[in-house]
């Protein structure tokens, strides 16, 4: 029988814990910079049509490779298009790639990794073998081959990069699940007769998520780099749709007359990758201090 005072104490304690958790986030400079940085970028991408001073695709052959001015903040490219407007709109492609790649590879990788780690036996061995073999393919190359095979629409680029990154998420997920499987609450769930699927979905995955979320944040950054690389090679979303990668590629041909085109697009990519990495580092420190011991950030 709990008394009213005990109940009030428990509520207060829970509130204090929540406050402490929030404080852990707000006092982590990297996390705050990363979170605010990515929020700003999302706002720019969403507001692109209103924010951009010009249409990103309107050409003006009388005004090519113009120097930066009040009307064209970063000058114009060889087709007379406003570079600043192209970069602002380019944020949309990069963010969509980052978001959907993480969504797909996180969902698929989590399930595959959790099943492999929890099931054990031949199923685990088979899945691990497949994951290991897929990891032997450089993920950028895998994405490139898939895009080559499936065409370079935004959908197929997202799918290609997501497939290339899923084995990594699955590998991390499995290694985390292996540490969860022997714990008493899993044995308890089994003892009360829950089915394996219920245990995996309700108990294993939620407990294994923190390190996987960290990996996902960082892989959003690598996905954005991969998309930029594909765009740079001419295999990304096709011009005239602006992407940061194809702005760099188009700027390369005019690099000596207006180096600002390529330079500024590279800075946009670097900014996004830095804030995502800061966010990932921050999440690692706050969500799961134990993770610091693990393999690091490459995965």
């Amino acid at each position: 029988m709990t008394t009213a005072i005990e109940t009030i104490d428990a509520v207060a304690e829970a509130a204090a814990r929540r406050r402490a958790a929030i404080r852990r986030y707000t006092r982590h400079p990297g996390f705050m910079i990363g979170a605010i940085g990515i929020l700003l970028l999302v706002m720019v991408a969403v507001a692109a049509p209103w924010l951009a001073p010009h249409s990103p695709t309107r050409t003006d052959l009388m005004n090519t490779l113009a120097r930066p001015s009040a009307t064209f903040w970063l000058g114009t490219d060889q087709f007379g298009r406003c570079v600043a407007s192209r970069l602002i709109h380019g944020a949309q492609v990069s963010l969509q790639v980052g978001f959907f790649v993480v969504l797909i590879s996180l969902s698929a990788g989590t399930i595959i990794g959790a099943v492999a780690g929890y099931a054990g036996g031949w199923l685990e061995r088979a899945l691990v073998a497949v994951i290991d073999i897929l990891l032997a393919f450089p993920s950028f190359l895998l994405a490139l081959a898939l895009v080559a095979a499936r065409g370079n629409t935004l959908d197929s680029i997202i799918l290609a990069v997501a497939i290339a990154y899923t084995p990594r998420v699955a590998a991390v997920m499995r290694s985390v699940v292996l540490t969860i499987r022997p714990r008493p609450f899993i044995e308890a769930s089994r003892a009360i007769g829950l089915t394996p699927w219920t245990i995996v979905l309700r108990h294993v995955i939620p407990n294994a998520l923190p390190p996987v979320i960290v990996v996902a944040t960082v892989s959003a950054a690598t996905a954005i780099l991969a998309e930029a690389g594909l765009s740079f090679l001419g295999l990304g979303v096709q011009p005239p749709t602006p992407t940061w990668g194809n702005v760099i590629a188009e700027g390369q041909t005019a690099i000596t007359t207006n180096p600002l085109i390529s330079l500024s697009a590279g800075l946009c990519i670097a900014y996004t990758v830095v804030v995502l990495n800061l966010l990932g580092d921050g999440l690692r420190d706050t969500l799961d201090p134990q993770m610091r011991r693990n393999t690091g950030k490459l995965l």
Binding site: A136, G266, L298
Partner: protein, 313 residues
Amino acid sequence: MVFYIARCAGQFAVALVGIVTVAFFLMRAIPGDPALYMLGDFATPEALATLRARLGLDLPVWQQYGIFLARALQGDLGMSVVTGEPALAEILASVPSSASLAVAGMAIAIAVGVPLGVIAAVRQGSVVDVAVMLIALLGISFPVFWVGITAILLLSHALGLFPALGATSEPGFWKGLHHLALPALVLGLSVAAYIARLTRSAMLEVLGQDHIRVARAMGVPEWRIVWKLALRNALVPVLAVIGVTFAWSLGNAILVEAVFSRPGLGSTILKAVLARDYQLLQAGVLVLAAAVVLLNTVLDLLYGAIDPRLRQQ
């Protein structure tokens, strides 16, 4: 040790069959008719049928797979649809150029990344640590092709230190090295950033262990603790890092080759993609994956040499 080597060789063989299998199904995952893709929309039905028969596309999938696997393990990866030459030969011809870039890049990456990671770990929390980690963060954040363009702009156009092209047809070792230097530097520094970050975390873990504390208590000089005791124990994770980054650096090498117009696997693969030469693309993907598997096998052997415990498992 003999048993250990045999096991590594066995794993290598299994992995090789695995990547051939993945490469096969990767190309079969193309929706629609590969023959139609290769010949384009205006192909005549006869041409399509001929190509289909030549590629074995009229057989059931499992039979196609069996033939493909048997041929691949004998080194036959089909013919390039564009040139009619054996695909594997065409890919292997571009390997030396890419291999020299990858090896030079990895050498720079290890020479820069490992010491920086160790120093950052030893001085954890100091200005040096923060500076190294900040540089490493920037190093992994800028796209490698952008770094390449910027390097050309600064070091070739403005300062004239290096040629802007990553290769030359002129003979001579030093000439070739001069052209290789800038691409290798760009590739190496991007990988060095990863290696530094991961070496730091591996070293931090080792430095926190009891045997290091005991060595300190016994008055072993600090340089000995760091560079001998700790680094040797951190070497297995560091080697693992090098293995992981190698696959990643091969992906980057494609971009670096494109920036510096350097011939190699990257340009051959790109050429295959643009010409829809799927046989050639498939061979390229296979060779690169095989290179990664080979490196991982060599690393496995090295782990065994470094850490006797791993041999006995």
